[in-house]
């Protein structure tokens, strides 16, 4: 489903965000991406929906060679990949309802389906009451949930979540993680970049560990555990 072969990413400013990364994720997997701040998690995800092109190496998503696809084909890729952006990226000029609907409308969905799917997704993240508000009228956590709803709405084959619970309280976090797990059970591949130790440790999924742009660990049913004991200090 997702395959990175010897991928490096060098930003124009000279930062090497990814360094010879090899990674294979099968269809239907649930993967946590962990690592310190600034270690390349978001950069790795950006390669998968072609916001970034690898400097060297190959990226395959859903059978497509993303590193050398032509510009005209990008929208089709992105419709198959739902993304919860770390900074939400909601359209400030549209209401929450319109934001979620937009992701469905761009796929050419019928109006009937839009009218059914959008309220369903907003309900899933607990925002049914706030659908007519603009992003600026929502709390941080509410914006984050709106971003999650938008990523889900067109039933993507792959769901990429970048720190999806950073602004959520534990009960909301639990609900969202259960939601992601249900979606995963139905066959969607889910990749979650997160710092939330409690979530990772509780769910016991595959954990891919990044350090300075390199993969330094990859375990089935892993724990959060970062570096030397730092994770444990906080869990106490």
């Amino acid at each position: 489903m997702i395959e990175l072969r010897n991928v490096s990413l060098l930003y124009p400013n000279g930062v090497r965000a990814l360094d010879a990364v090899d990674l294979k994720i099968e269809k239907g997997e649930f993967v946590f991406l962990v690592g310190h701040s600034g270690t390349g998690k978001s950069s790795l995800l950006r390669l998968l929906y072609r916001e970034q092109v690898p400097t060297t190496g190959d990226v395959y998503v859903d059978g497509i060679a993303v590193h050398r696809m032509r510009a005209g084909a990008i929208p089709r890729l992105r419709r198959n990949v739902g993304v919860v952006f770390q900074d939400f990226k909601l359209l400030g000029g549209k209401t929450i309802w319109e934001n979620v609907a937009f992701a469905l409308q761009v796929t050419g969905a019928r109006t009937k389906d839009v009218m059914r799917q959008v309220p369903r997704c907003l309900d899933l993240v607990g925002l049914a009451q706030k659908s007519r508000m603009f992003p600026s009228e929502l709390s941080g956590g509410e914006q984050q949930r709106a971003a999650i709803a938008r990523a889900l709405v067109n039933n993507p084959k792959i769901l990429l979540c970048d720190e999806p619970t950073g602004n959520l309280d534990p009960s909301n976090t639990t609900e969202i993680m259960e939601l992601l797990q249900r979606i995963n059970t139905k066959g969607t591949t889910v990749v979650v970049a997160t710092h939330n130790q409690a979530v990772v440790d509780r769910m016991r999924k595959r954990v891919v560990r990044l350090e300075n742009g390199r993969i330094v660990g990859d375990e089935e049913r892993g724990f959060y555990f970062l570096g030397l004991g730092q994770g444990q200090v906080l869990s106490g």
Binding site: E51, R78, R79, F85, L91, R110
Partner: protein, 293 residues
Amino acid sequence: MDWGKVKFFLGEVFANLTRNAAMQLTAIGSVAVAIAMLGTFLFVQRTAAAVSDQALQQIEVSAFLSDKRDLKADSGLIARTGALPGVAHVAYVSKAQGLKDLRDKLRGEVDTSLLTTNPLPDVLRIRARHVADVPAIADAVKALPGVADVQYAAKTVQRVMNVLGAAQRVGLAVIVLLVLAAFQIISNTIRLTVYSRRREIAIMQLVGATNNYIRLPFIAEGVVAGSLGAAVAVTLLLTAQHELLPALAQLITFIPFPTQAPDLIPLALQLLGAGALVGAIASWISVGRYLRV
């Protein structure tokens, strides 16, 4: 046909227009100013053309009639002259009338009582519809029986034609420049409105929208802003024509202004079309600038 999509699309255009009202109003204002300037100049140019046409009809061809001609053929001669192509008006001036006119003309400058004999011939005074026809008319009249000689202000005609030609070329140049200026101003304005929404455009791309899908509402907005701006400009122009022109006509009595409303209708339509078109093109180009991946 999914009418829901059409409804969504129109709703989106309308929402963008109203949610960014301050910005859109500013854009519409700039478009209006640019088009009003262009419209004013086009109107002035058309008025000037009409005025000069009218003024130039004053240039006359004088046909001096032979003293030895058949006087009974005069009415036929006048009719034949009037029927020549390009002739607007023919007047017969007898030698007696001619002397009286000359006396009036020279009065004060010359002691006219000294003019005791009448040295003048009978004359046909002929006006052309367009200055350009004057030389041809003069030649044709000269060939008519009973006409001794033909005279007209050849130098003046030549000069006027030069001036007209130059004025036309200069006017055209000014219009081309003004059209370019208006285009520049409108497209710059729209470019800035798009610039202020470049983040939105980037997000739409990330969510999987095709370039055309992103472009369409922007183009629709450009068309609306362009034609609303043009509409404001046209309203200003029509108001000015109705309110200012009569006052101006009273002030400047020597120019016969065309004051009928119909004059401006085709111009107004052209300006509206231009506004909409420029809006669309400018949006297309400006959005494209932020669509490159």
